[in-house]
Symmetry: C3
Subunit: 204 residues, 3 copies
Protein backbone atom coordinates (compact mmCIF):
# COMPACT_ATOMS: atom_id res chain seq x y z
CA UNK A 1 0.00 0.00 0.00
CA UNK A 2 2.70 2.48 1.06
CA UNK A 3 4.73 1.11 -1.85
CA UNK A 4 1.95 1.93 -4.34
CA UNK A 5 1.62 5.43 -2.90
CA UNK A 6 5.41 5.78 -3.18
CA UNK A 7 5.34 4.92 -6.89
CA UNK A 8 2.49 7.39 -7.48
CA UNK A 9 4.43 10.02 -5.54
CA UNK A 10 7.73 9.64 -7.45
CA UNK A 11 5.80 9.81 -10.75
CA UNK A 12 4.04 13.01 -9.65
CA UNK A 13 7.30 14.54 -8.38
CA UNK A 14 9.09 13.65 -11.62
CA UNK A 15 6.32 15.24 -13.70
CA UNK A 16 6.26 18.55 -11.82
CA UNK A 17 10.07 18.59 -11.74
CA UNK A 18 10.06 18.35 -15.54
CA UNK A 19 8.15 21.62 -15.67
CA UNK A 20 10.80 23.29 -13.48
CA UNK A 21 13.43 22.05 -15.95
CA UNK A 22 11.35 23.47 -18.80
CA UNK A 23 11.37 26.89 -17.15
CA UNK A 24 15.18 26.79 -17.49
CA UNK A 25 15.08 25.66 -21.15
CA UNK A 26 16.74 22.36 -20.36
CA UNK A 27 17.07 19.65 -22.96
CA UNK A 28 15.58 16.19 -22.46
CA UNK A 29 18.61 14.87 -20.65
CA UNK A 30 18.40 17.77 -18.21
CA UNK A 31 14.68 17.09 -17.77
CA UNK A 32 15.37 13.46 -16.82
CA UNK A 33 18.19 14.37 -14.42
CA UNK A 34 16.08 17.03 -12.67
CA UNK A 35 13.24 14.49 -12.40
CA UNK A 36 15.54 11.87 -10.87
CA UNK A 37 17.04 14.31 -8.43
CA UNK A 38 13.64 15.62 -7.35
CA UNK A 39 11.84 12.29 -7.06
CA UNK A 40 14.68 10.18 -5.66
CA UNK A 41 17.01 12.81 -4.17
CA UNK A 42 15.38 13.05 -0.76
CA UNK A 43 15.86 9.38 0.06
CA UNK A 44 19.34 9.49 -1.47
CA UNK A 45 20.48 12.39 0.73
CA UNK A 46 19.00 10.62 3.77
CA UNK A 47 20.83 7.38 2.94
CA UNK A 48 24.13 9.23 2.48
CA UNK A 49 23.75 11.05 5.81
CA UNK A 50 22.86 7.87 7.70
CA UNK A 51 25.18 5.53 5.79
CA UNK A 52 22.26 3.37 4.71
CA UNK A 53 23.10 1.47 1.52
CA UNK A 54 22.23 0.48 -1.16
CA UNK A 55 20.09 3.28 -2.56
CA UNK A 56 16.48 2.31 -3.40
CA UNK A 57 17.12 3.11 -7.08
CA UNK A 58 20.18 0.84 -7.16
CA UNK A 59 18.06 -2.06 -5.90
CA UNK A 60 15.14 -1.03 -8.14
CA UNK A 61 16.60 0.54 -11.30
CA UNK A 62 13.04 0.53 -12.69
CA UNK A 63 12.42 3.62 -10.52
CA UNK A 64 14.87 5.48 -12.78
CA UNK A 65 13.04 4.33 -15.90
CA UNK A 66 9.58 5.12 -14.48
CA UNK A 67 10.56 8.63 -13.39
CA UNK A 68 12.41 9.37 -16.66
CA UNK A 69 9.38 8.22 -18.65
CA UNK A 70 7.06 10.31 -16.46
CA UNK A 71 9.28 13.38 -16.91
CA UNK A 72 9.39 13.07 -20.69
CA UNK A 73 5.64 12.48 -20.76
CA UNK A 74 5.20 15.66 -18.71
CA UNK A 75 7.33 17.62 -21.21
CA UNK A 76 5.18 16.31 -24.05
CA UNK A 77 1.83 17.05 -22.38
CA UNK A 78 2.95 20.22 -20.55
CA UNK A 79 0.12 22.29 -21.93
CA UNK A 80 -2.39 19.71 -20.73
CA UNK A 81 -0.74 19.39 -17.29
CA UNK A 82 -1.37 23.06 -16.52
CA UNK A 83 -5.08 22.27 -16.60
CA UNK A 84 -4.51 19.59 -13.97
CA UNK A 85 -2.52 21.91 -11.74
CA UNK A 86 -4.68 21.17 -8.71
CA UNK A 87 -4.34 17.40 -9.16
CA UNK A 88 -0.54 17.73 -9.24
CA UNK A 89 -0.48 19.99 -6.17
CA UNK A 90 -2.48 17.26 -4.38
CA UNK A 91 -0.15 14.52 -5.60
CA UNK A 92 2.87 16.57 -4.57
CA UNK A 93 1.37 16.93 -1.08
CA UNK A 94 0.71 13.18 -1.02
CA UNK A 95 4.34 12.62 -2.00
CA UNK A 96 5.50 14.84 0.84
CA UNK A 97 3.72 12.84 3.55
CA UNK A 98 4.51 9.44 2.00
CA UNK A 99 8.21 10.28 1.67
CA UNK A 100 8.19 11.60 5.23
CA UNK A 101 6.68 8.41 6.68
CA UNK A 102 9.15 6.27 4.71
CA UNK A 103 12.03 8.43 5.95
CA UNK A 104 10.88 7.98 9.55
CA UNK A 105 10.60 4.21 9.09
CA UNK A 106 14.10 3.92 7.61
CA UNK A 107 15.55 5.87 10.55
CA UNK A 108 13.57 3.75 13.03
CA UNK A 109 14.88 0.57 11.42
CA UNK A 110 18.46 1.65 12.11
CA UNK A 111 17.63 2.72 15.69
CA UNK A 112 18.34 6.41 15.42
CA UNK A 113 17.21 8.75 18.24
CA UNK A 114 13.76 10.38 18.04
CA UNK A 115 14.95 13.84 16.94
CA UNK A 116 16.88 12.24 14.11
CA UNK A 117 13.91 10.08 13.06
CA UNK A 118 11.85 13.23 12.58
CA UNK A 119 14.73 14.91 10.76
CA UNK A 120 15.06 11.83 8.55
CA UNK A 121 11.38 12.17 7.63
CA UNK A 122 11.81 15.84 6.83
CA UNK A 123 14.95 15.25 4.74
CA UNK A 124 13.29 12.44 2.78
CA UNK A 125 10.24 14.59 2.15
CA UNK A 126 12.00 17.83 1.28
CA UNK A 127 15.60 17.40 0.11
CA UNK A 128 14.63 16.39 -3.43
CA UNK A 129 12.91 19.72 -3.97
CA UNK A 130 15.89 21.59 -2.51
CA UNK A 131 18.30 19.83 -4.89
CA UNK A 132 15.95 20.59 -7.81
CA UNK A 133 15.97 24.29 -6.95
CA UNK A 134 19.76 24.37 -6.48
CA UNK A 135 20.28 22.74 -9.90
CA UNK A 136 17.78 25.17 -11.44
CA UNK A 137 19.76 28.02 -9.83
CA UNK A 138 16.98 29.24 -7.54
CA UNK A 139 16.74 29.90 -3.82
CA UNK A 140 14.95 26.75 -2.60
CA UNK A 141 11.20 27.35 -2.49
CA UNK A 142 11.03 25.19 0.61
CA UNK A 143 12.74 27.92 2.59
CA UNK A 144 10.20 30.56 1.61
CA UNK A 145 6.94 28.89 0.63
CA UNK A 146 3.79 27.94 2.51
CA UNK A 147 3.85 25.26 5.19
CA UNK A 148 5.94 22.55 3.51
CA UNK A 149 8.84 21.37 5.66
CA UNK A 150 6.61 22.12 8.64
CA UNK A 151 3.99 19.71 7.28
CA UNK A 152 6.71 17.05 7.08
CA UNK A 153 7.72 17.72 10.70
CA UNK A 154 4.10 17.53 11.88
CA UNK A 155 3.55 14.29 9.93
CA UNK A 156 6.62 12.73 11.52
CA UNK A 157 5.73 14.00 15.00
CA UNK A 158 2.16 12.65 14.82
CA UNK A 159 3.40 9.30 13.51
CA UNK A 160 6.00 8.91 16.25
CA UNK A 161 3.66 10.27 18.93
CA UNK A 162 0.88 7.81 18.13
CA UNK A 163 3.29 4.88 17.99
CA UNK A 164 4.73 6.01 21.31
CA UNK A 165 1.27 5.72 22.86
CA UNK A 166 0.96 2.13 21.67
CA UNK A 167 -1.11 2.68 18.54
CA UNK A 168 -0.26 0.24 15.75
CA UNK A 169 2.15 1.32 12.98
CA UNK A 170 -0.47 1.16 10.24
CA UNK A 171 -3.05 3.26 12.11
CA UNK A 172 -0.39 5.76 13.20
CA UNK A 173 0.77 6.05 9.62
CA UNK A 174 -2.73 6.64 8.24
CA UNK A 175 -3.59 9.28 10.84
CA UNK A 176 -0.22 11.03 10.40
CA UNK A 177 -0.67 11.08 6.61
CA UNK A 178 -4.18 12.51 6.87
CA UNK A 179 -3.10 15.25 9.29
CA UNK A 180 0.02 16.13 7.30
CA UNK A 181 -1.91 16.16 4.04
CA UNK A 182 -4.69 18.31 5.51
CA UNK A 183 -2.15 20.79 6.88
CA UNK A 184 -0.36 21.04 3.54
CA UNK A 185 -3.52 21.36 1.47
CA UNK A 186 -5.07 23.92 3.82
CA UNK A 187 -1.85 25.94 3.71
CA UNK A 188 -2.04 25.99 -0.11
CA UNK A 189 -5.76 26.80 -0.08
CA UNK A 190 -5.50 29.66 2.41
CA UNK A 191 -1.90 30.63 1.57
CA UNK A 192 -0.67 30.03 5.12
CA UNK A 193 2.93 31.05 5.62
CA UNK A 194 5.45 30.54 8.33
CA UNK A 195 6.64 33.88 9.73
CA UNK A 196 9.34 35.28 7.48
CA UNK A 197 12.61 36.76 8.60
CA UNK A 198 13.57 39.70 6.42
CA UNK A 199 16.97 41.26 6.99
CA UNK A 200 18.68 43.72 4.70
CA UNK A 201 21.96 44.81 6.29
CA UNK A 202 25.17 43.66 4.60
CA UNK A 203 28.13 42.74 6.79
CA UNK A 204 30.75 42.27 4.17
CA UNK B 1 47.01 3.31 -20.70
CA UNK B 2 43.57 4.27 -19.31
CA UNK B 3 45.46 5.59 -16.29
CA UNK B 4 47.58 7.92 -18.46
CA UNK B 5 44.48 9.15 -20.29
CA UNK B 6 42.87 9.71 -16.88
CA UNK B 7 45.76 11.92 -15.73
CA UNK B 8 45.62 13.90 -18.99
CA UNK B 9 41.85 14.26 -18.57
CA UNK B 10 41.93 15.55 -14.98
CA UNK B 11 44.64 18.06 -15.95
CA UNK B 12 42.54 19.31 -18.88
CA UNK B 13 39.38 19.48 -16.74
CA UNK B 14 41.25 21.38 -14.02
CA UNK B 15 42.60 23.89 -16.55
CA UNK B 16 39.26 24.67 -18.16
CA UNK B 17 37.60 24.78 -14.72
CA UNK B 18 40.11 27.45 -13.70
CA UNK B 19 38.78 29.66 -16.48
CA UNK B 20 35.21 29.23 -15.16
CA UNK B 21 36.49 30.33 -11.76
CA UNK B 22 38.15 33.33 -13.39
CA UNK B 23 34.81 34.37 -14.91
CA UNK B 24 33.54 34.71 -11.34
CA UNK B 25 36.59 36.67 -10.13
CA UNK B 26 37.64 33.95 -7.73
CA UNK B 27 40.92 34.09 -5.88
CA UNK B 28 43.54 31.38 -6.22
CA UNK B 29 42.06 29.26 -3.47
CA UNK B 30 38.71 29.35 -5.25
CA UNK B 31 40.43 28.45 -8.52
CA UNK B 32 41.98 25.34 -6.92
CA UNK B 33 38.75 24.25 -5.26
CA UNK B 34 36.76 24.64 -8.49
CA UNK B 35 39.46 22.67 -10.32
CA UNK B 36 39.34 19.85 -7.73
CA UNK B 37 35.56 19.70 -7.78
CA UNK B 38 35.42 19.64 -11.58
CA UNK B 39 38.23 17.16 -12.20
CA UNK B 40 37.61 14.81 -9.27
CA UNK B 41 33.97 15.53 -8.38
CA UNK B 42 32.37 13.07 -10.81
CA UNK B 43 34.14 10.05 -9.35
CA UNK B 44 33.57 11.38 -5.85
CA UNK B 45 29.80 11.69 -6.32
CA UNK B 46 29.72 8.19 -7.83
CA UNK B 47 31.65 6.74 -4.90
CA UNK B 48 29.35 8.42 -2.38
CA UNK B 49 26.23 7.12 -4.15
CA UNK B 50 27.57 3.57 -4.40
CA UNK B 51 29.35 3.51 -1.03
CA UNK B 52 32.68 2.81 -2.71
CA UNK B 53 35.57 3.96 -0.54
CA UNK B 54 38.25 5.27 -0.31
CA UNK B 55 38.12 8.11 -2.84
CA UNK B 56 40.76 7.96 -5.59
CA UNK B 57 42.25 11.26 -4.36
CA UNK B 58 42.55 9.91 -0.80
CA UNK B 59 44.59 6.99 -2.10
CA UNK B 60 46.47 9.23 -4.53
CA UNK B 61 46.77 12.70 -2.93
CA UNK B 62 49.08 13.61 -5.82
CA UNK B 63 45.94 14.02 -7.95
CA UNK B 64 45.07 17.02 -5.77
CA UNK B 65 48.52 18.52 -6.27
CA UNK B 66 48.54 17.87 -10.03
CA UNK B 67 45.10 19.42 -10.58
CA UNK B 68 45.85 22.41 -8.32
CA UNK B 69 49.12 23.03 -10.21
CA UNK B 70 47.30 22.70 -13.56
CA UNK B 71 44.61 25.16 -12.45
CA UNK B 72 47.09 27.77 -11.29
CA UNK B 73 49.08 27.32 -14.49
CA UNK B 74 45.85 27.88 -16.44
CA UNK B 75 45.20 31.10 -14.52
CA UNK B 76 48.74 32.29 -15.36
CA UNK B 77 48.59 31.42 -19.06
CA UNK B 78 44.85 32.19 -19.53
CA UNK B 79 45.50 34.51 -22.45
CA UNK B 80 47.51 31.81 -24.19
CA UNK B 81 44.91 29.09 -23.45
CA UNK B 82 42.25 30.93 -25.43
CA UNK B 83 44.36 30.33 -28.51
CA UNK B 84 44.29 26.62 -27.77
CA UNK B 85 40.54 26.56 -27.26
CA UNK B 86 40.06 23.72 -29.74
CA UNK B 87 42.72 21.59 -28.07
CA UNK B 88 41.00 21.99 -24.73
CA UNK B 89 37.56 21.19 -26.15
CA UNK B 90 39.10 17.97 -27.53
CA UNK B 91 40.76 17.14 -24.21
CA UNK B 92 37.49 17.83 -22.38
CA UNK B 93 35.71 15.41 -24.74
CA UNK B 94 38.47 12.86 -24.11
CA UNK B 95 37.96 13.34 -20.39
CA UNK B 96 34.24 12.73 -20.76
CA UNK B 97 34.65 9.33 -22.41
CA UNK B 98 37.56 8.24 -20.20
CA UNK B 99 35.68 9.17 -17.01
CA UNK B 100 32.61 7.39 -18.36
CA UNK B 101 34.48 4.14 -19.04
CA UNK B 102 36.13 4.27 -15.60
CA UNK B 103 32.72 4.88 -14.01
CA UNK B 104 31.28 1.85 -15.80
CA UNK B 105 34.20 -0.31 -14.70
CA UNK B 106 33.87 0.73 -11.05
CA UNK B 107 30.16 -0.14 -11.09
CA UNK B 108 30.87 -3.46 -12.83
CA UNK B 109 33.46 -4.32 -10.18
CA UNK B 110 30.84 -4.00 -7.45
CA UNK B 111 28.26 -5.99 -9.45
CA UNK B 112 25.65 -3.32 -9.97
CA UNK B 113 22.81 -3.91 -12.47
CA UNK B 114 23.24 -2.81 -16.10
CA UNK B 115 21.11 0.36 -15.89
CA UNK B 116 23.13 1.47 -12.88
CA UNK B 117 26.45 0.73 -14.61
CA UNK B 118 25.48 3.11 -17.41
CA UNK B 119 24.29 5.68 -14.88
CA UNK B 120 27.59 5.31 -13.02
CA UNK B 121 29.44 6.09 -16.25
CA UNK B 122 27.29 9.15 -16.87
CA UNK B 123 27.68 10.41 -13.28
CA UNK B 124 31.45 9.95 -13.39
CA UNK B 125 31.66 11.76 -16.72
CA UNK B 126 29.29 14.60 -15.97
CA UNK B 127 28.82 15.32 -12.25
CA UNK B 128 32.08 17.26 -11.92
CA UNK B 129 30.88 19.82 -14.44
CA UNK B 130 27.50 20.07 -12.70
CA UNK B 131 29.16 20.76 -9.34
CA UNK B 132 31.40 23.37 -10.99
CA UNK B 133 28.38 25.19 -12.41
CA UNK B 134 26.47 25.02 -9.10
CA UNK B 135 29.47 26.50 -7.24
CA UNK B 136 29.81 29.18 -9.93
CA UNK B 137 26.08 29.94 -9.45
CA UNK B 138 25.01 28.95 -12.96
CA UNK B 139 22.37 26.59 -14.33
CA UNK B 140 24.48 23.53 -15.24
CA UNK B 141 25.56 23.72 -18.88
CA UNK B 142 25.17 19.98 -19.09
CA UNK B 143 21.41 20.35 -18.94
CA UNK B 144 21.29 22.76 -21.86
CA UNK B 145 24.37 22.29 -24.04
CA UNK B 146 25.13 20.15 -27.06
CA UNK B 147 25.24 16.35 -26.82
CA UNK B 148 27.21 15.89 -23.57
CA UNK B 149 25.49 13.60 -21.09
CA UNK B 150 24.08 11.78 -24.11
CA UNK B 151 27.62 11.11 -25.37
CA UNK B 152 28.40 9.59 -21.97
CA UNK B 153 25.31 7.36 -22.17
CA UNK B 154 26.21 6.24 -25.70
CA UNK B 155 29.81 5.53 -24.64
CA UNK B 156 28.61 3.40 -21.74
CA UNK B 157 25.99 1.60 -23.83
CA UNK B 158 28.47 0.73 -26.60
CA UNK B 159 31.03 -0.46 -24.02
CA UNK B 160 28.53 -2.70 -22.23
CA UNK B 161 26.92 -3.88 -25.47
CA UNK B 162 30.21 -5.00 -27.00
CA UNK B 163 31.28 -6.77 -23.80
CA UNK B 164 27.88 -8.45 -23.68
CA UNK B 165 28.54 -9.92 -27.14
CA UNK B 166 31.82 -11.42 -25.95
CA UNK B 167 34.23 -8.79 -27.21
CA UNK B 168 37.25 -8.28 -24.93
CA UNK B 169 37.21 -5.42 -22.42
CA UNK B 170 40.09 -3.56 -24.07
CA UNK B 171 38.61 -3.64 -27.57
CA UNK B 172 35.14 -2.70 -26.24
CA UNK B 173 36.68 0.21 -24.38
CA UNK B 174 38.58 1.51 -27.41
CA UNK B 175 35.56 1.28 -29.73
CA UNK B 176 33.26 2.89 -27.14
CA UNK B 177 35.75 5.72 -26.61
CA UNK B 178 36.08 6.38 -30.34
CA UNK B 179 32.30 6.42 -30.88
CA UNK B 180 31.64 8.61 -27.82
CA UNK B 181 34.44 10.99 -28.77
CA UNK B 182 33.23 11.22 -32.37
CA UNK B 183 29.67 11.93 -31.21
CA UNK B 184 30.81 14.66 -28.83
CA UNK B 185 33.19 16.32 -31.30
CA UNK B 186 30.67 16.20 -34.16
CA UNK B 187 28.06 17.75 -31.86
CA UNK B 188 30.44 20.61 -31.06
CA UNK B 189 31.41 21.03 -34.73
CA UNK B 190 27.86 21.07 -36.07
CA UNK B 191 26.25 22.45 -32.90
CA UNK B 192 23.96 19.44 -32.49
CA UNK B 193 21.49 19.87 -29.67
CA UNK B 194 19.10 17.56 -27.88
CA UNK B 195 15.51 18.78 -28.24
CA UNK B 196 14.84 21.48 -25.68
CA UNK B 197 11.81 21.74 -23.45
CA UNK B 198 10.80 25.35 -23.00
CA UNK B 199 7.99 26.07 -20.57
CA UNK B 200 7.04 29.46 -19.23
CA UNK B 201 4.01 29.10 -17.00
CA UNK B 202 4.50 29.70 -13.27
CA UNK B 203 2.56 27.54 -10.82
CA UNK B 204 3.44 29.27 -7.62
CA UNK C 1 38.13 22.59 26.20
CA UNK C 2 38.05 22.08 22.41
CA UNK C 3 34.52 20.77 22.94
CA UNK C 4 33.42 24.00 24.66
CA UNK C 5 35.01 26.07 21.88
CA UNK C 6 33.20 23.84 19.36
CA UNK C 7 29.81 24.54 20.98
CA UNK C 8 30.53 28.29 21.02
CA UNK C 9 31.59 28.08 17.37
CA UNK C 10 28.48 26.25 16.12
CA UNK C 11 26.28 28.74 18.00
CA UNK C 12 28.11 31.69 16.41
CA UNK C 13 27.97 30.09 12.93
CA UNK C 14 24.24 29.36 13.33
CA UNK C 15 23.56 32.96 14.36
CA UNK C 16 25.40 34.59 11.46
CA UNK C 17 23.90 32.02 9.06
CA UNK C 18 20.44 33.10 10.20
CA UNK C 19 21.22 36.62 8.97
CA UNK C 20 22.17 35.22 5.53
CA UNK C 21 18.80 33.44 5.47
CA UNK C 22 17.09 36.69 6.40
CA UNK C 23 18.71 38.43 3.42
CA UNK C 24 16.82 35.94 1.25
CA UNK C 25 13.50 36.43 3.07
CA UNK C 26 13.41 32.87 4.32
CA UNK C 27 10.82 31.70 6.81
CA UNK C 28 11.78 30.23 10.16
CA UNK C 29 12.14 26.73 8.82
CA UNK C 30 14.55 28.01 6.19
CA UNK C 31 16.46 29.90 8.87
CA UNK C 32 16.92 26.71 10.91
CA UNK C 33 17.97 24.63 7.90
CA UNK C 34 20.51 27.25 6.77
CA UNK C 35 21.84 27.39 10.34
CA UNK C 36 22.22 23.59 10.52
CA UNK C 37 23.89 23.41 7.13
CA UNK C 38 26.33 26.21 7.98
CA UNK C 39 27.21 25.12 11.51
CA UNK C 40 27.26 21.35 10.99
CA UNK C 41 27.74 21.03 7.21
CA UNK C 42 31.53 21.16 7.18
CA UNK C 43 31.96 18.13 9.42
CA UNK C 44 29.13 16.37 7.59
CA UNK C 45 30.77 16.81 4.18
CA UNK C 46 34.08 15.62 5.64
CA UNK C 47 32.46 12.53 7.14
CA UNK C 48 30.74 11.68 3.85
CA UNK C 49 33.99 12.04 1.89
CA UNK C 50 35.97 9.93 4.33
CA UNK C 51 33.19 7.42 5.14
CA UNK C 52 33.34 8.32 8.81
CA UNK C 53 30.03 7.55 10.52
CA UNK C 54 27.92 8.34 12.46
CA UNK C 55 27.61 12.11 12.04
CA UNK C 56 28.29 14.16 15.19
CA UNK C 57 24.71 15.47 15.14
CA UNK C 58 23.30 11.93 14.97
CA UNK C 59 25.22 11.03 18.11
CA UNK C 60 24.43 14.40 19.70
CA UNK C 61 20.99 15.51 18.43
CA UNK C 62 21.20 18.34 20.97
CA UNK C 63 23.54 20.10 18.50
CA UNK C 64 20.54 20.43 16.18
CA UNK C 65 18.42 21.91 18.95
CA UNK C 66 21.16 24.29 20.11
CA UNK C 67 21.87 25.62 16.62
CA UNK C 68 18.16 25.94 15.76
CA UNK C 69 17.55 27.87 18.99
CA UNK C 70 20.59 30.09 18.29
CA UNK C 71 19.35 30.80 14.74
CA UNK C 72 15.86 31.75 15.87
CA UNK C 73 17.32 33.91 18.63
CA UNK C 74 19.47 35.64 16.00
CA UNK C 75 16.39 36.32 13.86
CA UNK C 76 14.65 37.83 16.88
CA UNK C 77 17.57 40.02 17.97
CA UNK C 78 18.88 40.75 14.45
CA UNK C 79 18.86 44.51 15.00
CA UNK C 80 20.92 44.07 18.16
CA UNK C 81 23.35 41.63 16.51
CA UNK C 82 24.44 44.26 13.98
CA UNK C 83 25.87 46.22 16.88
CA UNK C 84 27.95 43.21 17.85
CA UNK C 85 29.23 42.68 14.32
CA UNK C 86 32.86 42.65 15.45
CA UNK C 87 32.19 40.07 18.16
CA UNK C 88 30.56 37.76 15.60
CA UNK C 89 33.39 38.20 13.11
CA UNK C 90 35.77 37.15 15.91
CA UNK C 91 33.61 34.17 16.84
CA UNK C 92 33.37 33.16 13.18
CA UNK C 93 37.18 33.26 12.96
CA UNK C 94 37.37 31.20 16.14
CA UNK C 95 34.95 28.70 14.58
CA UNK C 96 37.13 28.46 11.50
CA UNK C 97 40.27 27.45 13.41
CA UNK C 98 38.42 25.19 15.86
CA UNK C 99 36.62 23.33 13.04
CA UNK C 100 39.92 23.06 11.17
CA UNK C 101 41.75 21.48 14.12
CA UNK C 102 38.85 19.05 14.70
CA UNK C 103 38.88 18.15 11.01
CA UNK C 104 42.61 17.44 11.14
CA UNK C 105 42.18 15.27 14.24
CA UNK C 106 39.38 13.21 12.68
CA UNK C 107 41.51 12.55 9.60
CA UNK C 108 44.52 11.68 11.78
CA UNK C 109 42.41 9.21 13.76
CA UNK C 110 41.60 7.29 10.58
CA UNK C 111 45.22 7.38 9.40
CA UNK C 112 44.83 9.44 6.25
CA UNK C 113 47.92 10.82 4.48
CA UNK C 114 49.24 14.30 5.44
CA UNK C 115 47.85 16.16 2.40
CA UNK C 116 44.43 14.72 3.12
CA UNK C 117 44.63 15.62 6.83
CA UNK C 118 45.15 19.26 5.86
CA UNK C 119 42.37 19.04 3.29
CA UNK C 120 40.10 17.50 5.94
CA UNK C 121 40.80 20.50 8.18
CA UNK C 122 40.02 22.92 5.38
CA UNK C 123 36.79 21.11 4.41
CA UNK C 124 35.61 21.00 8.03
CA UNK C 125 36.36 24.69 8.46
CA UNK C 126 34.96 25.93 5.17
CA UNK C 127 32.38 23.60 3.57
CA UNK C 128 29.52 24.76 5.81
CA UNK C 129 29.85 28.31 4.50
CA UNK C 130 30.02 27.06 0.91
CA UNK C 131 26.80 25.05 1.35
CA UNK C 132 25.14 28.09 2.95
CA UNK C 133 26.04 30.26 -0.04
CA UNK C 134 24.90 27.61 -2.56
CA UNK C 135 21.52 27.30 -0.78
CA UNK C 136 21.23 31.11 -0.68
CA UNK C 137 21.97 31.13 -4.43
CA UNK C 138 25.25 33.05 -4.21
CA UNK C 139 28.76 32.43 -5.50
CA UNK C 140 30.50 31.14 -2.35
CA UNK C 141 32.16 34.03 -0.52
CA UNK C 142 34.98 31.69 0.42
CA UNK C 143 36.19 31.71 -3.16
CA UNK C 144 36.42 35.48 -3.32
CA UNK C 145 36.81 36.88 0.18
CA UNK C 146 39.79 37.76 2.33
CA UNK C 147 42.12 35.07 3.64
CA UNK C 148 39.65 32.40 4.77
CA UNK C 149 40.36 28.96 3.34
CA UNK C 150 44.03 29.98 3.42
CA UNK C 151 43.79 30.59 7.16
CA UNK C 152 42.40 27.06 7.53
CA UNK C 153 45.29 25.64 5.50
CA UNK C 154 47.86 27.56 7.57
CA UNK C 155 46.20 26.43 10.81
CA UNK C 156 46.33 22.80 9.70
CA UNK C 157 49.91 23.08 8.43
CA UNK C 158 51.17 24.65 11.68
CA UNK C 159 49.34 22.03 13.75
CA UNK C 160 50.76 19.12 11.76
CA UNK C 161 54.21 20.70 11.50
CA UNK C 162 54.54 21.22 15.25
CA UNK C 163 53.31 17.69 16.00
CA UNK C 164 55.79 16.37 13.44
CA UNK C 165 58.61 18.01 15.39
CA UNK C 166 57.53 16.23 18.57
CA UNK C 167 55.56 19.00 20.21
CA UNK C 168 52.57 17.75 22.23
CA UNK C 169 49.12 17.74 20.61
CA UNK C 170 47.69 20.32 23.02
CA UNK C 171 50.53 22.83 22.58
CA UNK C 172 50.50 22.34 18.79
CA UNK C 173 46.77 22.93 18.77
CA UNK C 174 46.98 26.13 20.83
CA UNK C 175 49.80 27.60 18.74
CA UNK C 176 48.07 26.65 15.46
CA UNK C 177 44.82 28.23 16.65
CA UNK C 178 46.54 31.45 17.67
CA UNK C 179 48.39 31.76 14.37
CA UNK C 180 45.32 30.90 12.27
CA UNK C 181 43.16 33.28 14.27
CA UNK C 182 45.72 36.08 13.99
CA UNK C 183 45.99 35.58 10.24
CA UNK C 184 42.23 35.64 9.78
CA UNK C 185 41.67 38.66 12.02
CA UNK C 186 44.54 40.63 10.47
CA UNK C 187 43.17 39.85 7.00
CA UNK C 188 39.77 41.25 8.03
CA UNK C 189 41.37 44.30 9.71
CA UNK C 190 43.62 45.19 6.78
CA UNK C 191 41.40 43.69 4.07
CA UNK C 192 44.11 41.29 2.86
CA UNK C 193 43.10 39.39 -0.24
CA UNK C 194 44.51 36.46 -2.10
CA UNK C 195 45.40 37.41 -5.68
CA UNK C 196 42.29 37.26 -7.83
CA UNK C 197 42.01 35.67 -11.22
CA UNK C 198 39.70 37.70 -13.45
CA UNK C 199 38.88 36.26 -16.85
CA UNK C 200 36.19 37.49 -19.18
CA UNK C 201 36.29 35.47 -22.37
CA UNK C 202 33.38 33.09 -23.04
CA UNK C 203 34.15 29.79 -24.69
CA UNK C 204 30.65 28.56 -25.23
Amino acid sequence: MLHILYIIAIIAEAMTAALSAGRRDMDWVGVCIIAWVTALGGGTVRNILFNHYPMSWVEHPEYLLITAAAAILAAVIARFMSKMKTLFLYLDALGLVVFTIIGCQVAQAINLPTTIIMLSGMITGCAGGVLRDVLCNEVPLLFRKEIYASAAIVTGAVFLGLEHFGISEVISMIIACIIGLALRLLSIRYNWQMPKFVYREEWH
